[in-house]
Amino acid sequence: MFKIAKAKWPELWQALAREGQLYLPALVDGKTDFAPWQKDTKVDLLTAVTAKSLKQLFFAQVEPLMHFQTSGKKVAVTPQELPAQPTIAFGVRACDLAGFTILDKVFLKEPVDTFYRARRENCTLIGLACGFPEETCFCQTFNIDAASPAGDIQTWLVWDNLYWESRTGKGQQLTAKLAALLTEATAEDAKLVQAQQTKIRETLSKLPLGRLRFSPELAKHEQEVFNSKVWEKLSATCLSCCGCTYVCPTCHCYDVRDYAGKDGAVERFRCWDSCMNGDFTKMAHGNPRKGQLERFRQRYMHKLVYFPEDYEGTFACVGCGRCLRICPVNLNIVKVAKELEVDLHV
């Protein structure tokens, strides 16, 4: 383990930025979110939950896939070049890192999404333990340890020191390049880190959602959950905006659309989409998910039932709590899961 004192952090950001485009949590307009680092960036390492998840780093909200050029009866297609720039994300929390393993299951499964893979491989992820978890956090529900984040490198912020430990080869390579800035941590330091870890786990258990568990039984009763009467009650007040989908680190539905420019130039792009949108499944002959209830149900069925069925019981949720914070009408996966568990007696 290494350490680096607060006074040297600006040098650290600079050094990291030399190795690739650096993203870290920054305070902009009173809101902390991941942003590309610049000299005047106000880095915020204390806020545990950034406004959006980091998924857009690998799965961009809008991304051109290819360009067509049509002329007369001819059509030519030019694939978009894959992104090649190395990136480094610093200060990624355990929940977001766990989110990537869920996206990996989808996008890295054959046939691989090459855009996602290129970005994923070009990126070195530096995790940061959550010194101050928030009341909306429930990562422990999914056995995600906020005190030792995954990633290529994991770090801890204790008082004015950042403790640094590489976990993968990629992490070691990057660490080696920063040798001039990092000093070896002592046994004393290791104790401080351990103490913080214990503290974090303790705090998490004291939070309102600290003892929350999602029942694995849900995934075993697909039809019962699907036909549960709670959907009507829960979906009645959903506005069907897709805020929850867009901030979710695991939601991965997308749309492919064409933009027709002039003189036969066409850009085909991919953009985030949500099963909450009315046109998501709309076809010429009708819509199999006719109303709010069906669409609302789909989102939660996918996270709590279908995904676990497909991937050995893994819920498509990492407990980051962003949907709890964003929903204009305070609906969220925790309320849905609880209601379902009560309804199904599981």
């Binding site: 307009d29 009173g30 809101k31 545990a48 406004a51 959006k52 909200q61 809008v62 101050f132 978890p133 928030e134 009341e135 909306t136 705090t203 004291k206 939070l207 309102p208 959602l209 009650k233 009645a236 007040t237 506005l239 069907s240 905006c241 897709c242 805020g243 989908t245 867009y246 901030v247 749309d255 659309r257 933009y259 792009f269 953009c271 985030w272 989409d273 949500s274 949108n277 009315g278 046109d279 709890l324 964003i326 204009p328 009408v329 305070n330 609906l331 969220n332 925790v334 309320k335 609880k338």
Partner: protein
């Protein structure tokens, strides 16, 4: 507030058991200190979950759209500012009066959890309000905040405690927060900037948008069956956020479509996950309408025609409007 909540529960149970209404729109207790959710109650027993406190900002008038469609007589608890929304929906003929039972509900201003968090408070376990002081208990300690500092922005422009529509009222009217200064001050500040600065401001502001459409979906004036932005043939893709011009168009046209019908409830700005200053666009239209066509408040009744569907022969010319505010 607890007293009011008890009265509300009682009223809701009464209305449901007497069969006067088929459902009641109110709020249900959440799992955190502040996450009460709008909810529809259909049985007197279910009303045990009904709550009301300083964290019930949502304007429930939009749920009347679904109630009208299903032809269900619905009792709805309305804070003074929410009553404007109901009137507007009635005026737009999107909600029918026969399905509405409006219950005026007193309010002292709602609190903004984002502002509370902005004081560095995390791990919130309990929030209590008394005598203008908000006590926030967290797993890391307790802190007191002056209530006025953590009121929602929309409450700082409170239109007062009068109900614009109510079949009955719950409890005594409460003193609402004193409005802070000129409602149009922020609009005037932008107007005073040189054009390039204004352009830059809006590009920056609107580029934050992630097209979640929450602003549209919560708005009591956005009551179309199908939004133009959900039309695949529209020049602006419904959910893509692909080009700065699209963002401009979406927000400009959305604000334009509600111009003269926007009641100024401030819900769009409240629900925006990205904190886009959406209210400014609506306020600008309100200010223009007041200046060009005389003072007008949408939703203060259900009959006065909106300024965009009426005219006078001596109206100001578009060319004059374009010149205004230029440096």
């Amino acid at each position: 507030m607890q007293k009011i909540a008890a009265l509300m529960r009682q009223k809701a149970q009464e209305l449901l058991s007497s069969g006067q209404v088929q459902q009641v729109a109110a709020w249900r207790k959440g799992q955190l200190a502040y996450d009460n959710a709008p909810a529809v109650f259909t049985s007197p027993e279910a009303c045990a979950d009904l709550v009301y406190d300083e964290f019930c900002p949502a304007n429930l008038s939009k749920y009347l759209l679904a109630a009208t469609k299903k032809k269900l007589k619905t009792a709805v608890f309305l804070k003074p500012c929410d009553t404007y929304g109901v009137n507007q929906l009635l005026k737009d003929n999107r909600v029918q009066r026969e399905y509405v039972y409006a219950i005026g509900t007193p309010c002292q201003g709602m609190l903004d959890i984002k502002k509370i968090r902005a004081h560095g408070l995390k791990g919130i376990t309990r929030i209590t309000v008394s005598e203008g002081v908000v006590q926030v208990e967290t797993v890391y300690g307790t802190q007191n905040l002056p209530q006025r500092d953590v009121l929602l922005d929309k409450c700082l422009q409170c239109k007062g405690n009068a109900y614009m529509i109510a079949d009955t009222e719950i409890g005594e009217k409460l003193a609402t927060p004193e409005p802070r200064g000129d409602a149009f001050a922020a609009v005037k500040r932008i107007e005073a900037l040189p054009p390039e600065e204004r352009f830059k401001f809006w590009q920056q502001e609107l580029s934050k948008c992630i097209r979640c459409n929450a602003c549209r979906d919560i708005c009591p004036a956005c009551s179309c069956e199908q939004c133009i932005f959900d039309n695949p043939a529209a020049p602006v893709a419904g959910k893509a956020f692909a080009d700065p011009v699209e963002e401009n168009m979406f927000h400009l046209i959305r604000a334009y479509h509600v111009a003269g019908r926007c009641v100024g409830c401030g819900e769009c700005a409240r629900v925006c996950p990205q904190g886009v200053k959406l209210g400014l666009l609506n306020l600008k239209f309100m200010k223009d309408i007041n200046t060009f066509y005389g003072p007008y408040q949408a939703g203060s009744d259900a009959t006065t025609p909106a300024p965009q569907v009426t005219f006078t022969q001596g109206d100001v010319e578009p060319s004059a409007a374009g010149q205004k505010g230029r440096s």
